[in-house]
């Protein structure tokens, strides 16, 4: 094969890298600077609305990993089961969100927070109290558009790009 370029290709490449000296870096310095995540983020916890739940265990049946443990007993009031035990081992959870999709009563939500690192595996197990929704819980809008509307707009890196022409 013939080869007639005499370093023009290298020069072109050098000009690209040199041009980047004048551009703004794209790094986001994470703990100090944060990008707003998607409104539908499947953050790494599950949040549970105690009042809507009827204890039907659809979530547990849908879970592909089988990490939702639910124990219920019949209760007299309101055509519901009484949820005695509701536990998710988020260490095994793959955050696929299928349980949230499957819940026929909209009682289950993904969390909005994504910083749930723990020192022990045992601490990753969410029990009934930890999952129950409180005013402080950060609920993601995954499969719940009404919740998504309340969340801040996601930062998009594309918004920082300049469009030519």
């Amino acid at each position: 094969m013939k080869f007639e370029r005499y370093g023009i290709g290298i020069a072109k490449g050098l000009s690209v890298t040199l041009r980047h000296l004048l551009r703004r870096p794209v790094t986001t310095q994470y703990p100090e600077q944060r990008l707003v995540t998607s409104r539908r983020i499947r953050g790494n916890e599950l949040i549970w609305d105690k009042n809507k739940c009827t204890g039907c265990a659809t979530c547990a049946k849908t879970c592909p990993q089988g990490v939702i443990h639910i124990v219920t007993s019949a209760s007299a009031e309101e055509n519901k089961y009484l949820v005695e035990k509701f536990e998710v081992d988020t260490g095994y959870c793959i955050f696929c969100g299928l349980c949230v999709e499957a819940c026929p009563f909209d009682a289950l939500f993904m969390g909005y927070a994504y910083e749930r690192a723990r020192y022990r595996r045992g601490e990753l197990v969410q029990d009934k109290e930890m999952m129950t929704e409180t005013p402080d819980s950060e609920v993601s809008g995954y499969f719940h558009p009404e919740r998504a509307a309340k969340l801040p707009r996601q930062t998009l890196l594309i918004d920082r790009a300049k469009v030519k022409g």
Binding site: G9, G13, P64
Partner: protein, 367 residues
């Protein structure tokens, strides 16, 4: 005078900076020259085919995310196509368009990593891959907006997609499509004509056309060898028959051709995306499919043009809620068949870039 030399065995991998995962090449070297090479697989074998036999049809979708984790959308796509074929489920029009948009975005994202990693293997220290990851982040932003995750999307469902895209998706995507061609030009300016890259990649690791067909190579590897074969065109699935696009092919099938084919495919993907975005209809995105799907007894094979080649899912149903057999036709595993033929005779440095130019994802090879 002939200098008598003794070949020696070097294990490239499983832990090595450029084996793209945990691949092991048991190479026999004579000095720098590769005399023999035997691929060793299985370091990432998780038994996904067996796991799938114990899950519902919907529950298998997250498993497909974990096959080729650089192209999860297309994995979902191929799988749901197979289930839809098996259970004869219709897909709403809008869902078809969203699927195509996602698949093409995924192709760009995957090729960005493939090309960046290939150039990094060539020794262009970090620069191309950082530039390309910069653009990939923007695609991941779009995926995150639609499905809430950046890597394991779990977005497509049997009979549609899980949720409609939010309203800010379309403006963001059209902005991305406006700027992406400029970025691709910039990558080309960076290294396309670089003399050292030409010297390293041109004519190296040639996969001849006949051999490429015989080993059933697919995707950019097959096209780089000069075979104009794209399942999007040859066997149009979903709505690919509505779009205009070219099939870029290489001429000799060397590493450089494989690199060029990927870059050109990115441009074609942008072209498809522009058409799809223009025609995107309103309407439902999910047909009514029960959570616990019971497809009729039978079998189905659906294949799509994934970024790395022909990704096929072969499903056998026995009428229960779980697939009786779930087989993945992994393009990267089959593309590796001719690895030894391509490598023997070249130097250690070429071995790395030949391997890099095939663009594999070990999670899919070993499954």
């Amino acid at each position: 005078m002939v200098i008598k030399t003794e070949p020696f065995v070097v294990n490239i991998g499983p832990v090595h900076p450029s084996t793209h995962g945990v691949f092991r090449m048991r190479t026999t070297l004579d000095g720098e020259v590769v005399v023999d090479m035997e691929p060793v697989f299985g370091y990432l074998h998780r038994g996904i085919e067996k796991l799938a036999e114990e899950r519902t049809y919907t529950g298998c979708i997250p498993l497909t995310d974990r096959l080729d984790y650089l192209a999860s959308m297309t994995n979902n796509f191929a799988y749901v196509l197979a289930v839809e074929k098996l259970a004869r489920i219709p897909v709403p029009e809008r869902a078809e368009y969203i699927r195509v948009i996602m698949a093409e975005l995924q192709r760009i994202a995957s090729h960005l990593i493939a090309v960046g990693a290939f150039l990094n293997d060539c020794g262009a220290f970090m620069t191309p891959i950082v530039y390309m990851i910069r653009e990939r982040e923007k695609i991941l932003d779009l995926f995150e907006m639609a499905c809430g995750q950046r890597l394991t999307y779990n977005y497509m469902r049997v009979g549609g997609v899980s949720q409609d895209v939010p309203e800010e998706f379309v403006p963001a995507l059209s902005k991305f499509l406006k700027v992406m061609p400029g970025w691709i030009d910039e990558y080309d300016q960076l290294l396309k004509e670089n003399e050292i890259l030409l010297a390293r990649a041109k004519g190296v690791g040639i996969l001849p056309k006949e051999l490429a067909i015989n080993i059933a190579a697919s995707g950019p590897v097959l096209r780089a060898s000069g075979v104009k074969w794209d399942i999007r065109r040859a066997d149009p699935y979903s709505i690919y028959d509505r779009f205009e696009f070219d099939i870029p092919t290489g001429s000799v099938g060397d590493c450089y051709d494989r690199y060029r084919v990927r870059v050109e495919e990115m441009r074609q993907s942008v072209r498809i995306l522009k058409q799809a975005l223009k025609d995107l209809p309103e309407g439902e995105v999910r047909s009514d499919v029960p959570h616990r799907l019971h497809p009729p007894v039978g079998e189905a094979y659906a294949h799509i043009e994934a970024p790395r080649g022909e990704l096929g899912f072969y499903l056998v149903s026995d009428g229960s809620i779980a697939p009786y057999r779930f087989h993945v036709r992994a393009p990267t595993l089959i593309n590796l068949t001719a690895l030894r033929d391509m490598m023997v005779g070249w130097k250690v440095a070429d071995l790395i870039i030949i391997f890099g130019s095939i663009d594999i994802c070990m999670a899919e090879v070993d499954r």
